[in-house]
Amino acid sequence: MDLALSDEQRMIVDMVRRFVREEILPLEENLDPDADELPPEELARLVEIVKEMGLYGLDTPPEYGGPEIDLVTRSLIAIECSQHRAGLYAPCYYAFGGARQAQMFEATDAQKDKYLYPMLRGEKKVFFGLSEPSGGSDPARAIQTRAVRDGDDWVLNGTKLWISGADRADYGLLFARTGGPGRKGVTCFIVETDWPGFHVRRVVHTLRSAKYATEIQLEDLRVPHENILGEEGGGFSIASERLSRQRIPYAAECIGVAVKANEMAVEYAKIRETFGAPLSSRQGIQWMLVENEIDLRTARLFVLDAADKADRGESYRMESALAKLIASEASGRVVDRSMQIHGGLGVAKDLPLERWYRELRIRRIGEGPSEVQKHVIAREIFGSGLH
């Protein structure tokens, strides 16, 4: 893998870095430390700047109006976009286009007109409803939400948990069991949130404030047959394809906050004196910063390697799992050490470190816990027969 950035990649990285420094960081000085969004008018102003940069809709394929960037470049952008207080879960407050439900590109022409294009234009918000109280890491077996055919409709009953943005969404993707146990029994439906029987029951309060999760209850929710996305029984492959690819920029975002935390720790170690000497002169501190450097470089290598494999059209399931595992765990360690170097200030809301510490803890669980990533890697080592 050639690790040198191309001229274009370097230009993009510089541009995004400047955007974060000049547009995002000053805004955060006046926001609550746990803020996760901007007033719509402020966001619209930032979106116009991003559009002028040619980077709006980062996760939208070029044929639908997104920028012509590969996954390596997308990952480099993710590393830059997350280098601010809200950056892990609200990178640049979604000025680059926010979350896109990539499965929507599988839609029929009629579904695209009704659901995909309004989403791409930013007019409608969409949620992704896969996880349930019975589990999210093994959806093929865990999904208990049931869809039963009734004439031209399907009737859905069940509960979804850990669903981000369902309370703000206009419609979403819901995965339900239409057949027997296992992968082929799961179907994906497009459901509208104002249909009778769709209820967002509560906010699930966690360590993070941005992109908070909700609990959804479905009570005899009627969904037209035409709202099946893909094929009946084909929901699992739609879901899993997304998860593999999205793990790579997801991992890259972890690196971004760790880079920033480490920069802060290095600067603080230079200026903070204890017992008559700067922290940077203490071997205990030096070794923490050396370990930070090792973790950051390792995580970056694995993330860019996975992105490079994907860009070359090679199988990247193992690399994607390695990238997610290593970046989420290494970044957590970097932020933890950086907090330690800052002492009491590190745990105060005056600095972003405490927020990154809380949110990075979730990253070891979200989008597949570390143990599931190891299971994926082991399966690649031993073959798919591993259960």
């Binding site: 609550d32 719509p40 703000r168 967002v200 309060h205 909700t214």
Partner: protein, 113 residues
């Protein structure tokens, strides 16, 4: 944790507010009849947390506010949005009368049941 706050009301007086500490969290203000008139938050930039917020409301109370209740909560941001969402669900989409500081475009739709 219940979605709606269900604690007893405390008179919005100097003695009532004196009981509070500087924790982060959420609070509600109500009129004599117990109708909620304001849902507020003591966030990371609130000077003296809930105590500071309630002291400010005691000095300049929203119209009709005579009592309050609080919930200490580090997840103050999401909890604030949840309380506002539950109130809107219970009141036909309206916000408490004094919550003119909230942009409804930044709120979701809840139906806590």
């Amino acid at each position: 944790m219940a979605v709606r706050l269900d604690k007893p009301w405390i008179p919005l007086t100097a003695d009532g507010v004196k009981q509070l500490a500087g924790h982060l969290g959420v609070y509600q203000l109500a009129n004599d009849a117990g109708d909620i008139v304001y849902i507020g938050v003591a966030g990371g930039r609130s000077l003296f947390g809930l105590k500071g917020e309630l002291e400010a409301k005691l000095k300049a109370p929203p119209a009709g506010a005579t009592q309050f209740r609080v919930e200490v909560n580090m997840a103050y941001s999401t909890r604030h949005k949840e309380l506002l969402g539950a109130y809107r669900n219970d009141h036909g989409g309206d916000l408490p009368v004094a919550n003119t500081d909230v942009d409804v475009r930044m709120l979701g739709r809840l139906s806590p049941g």
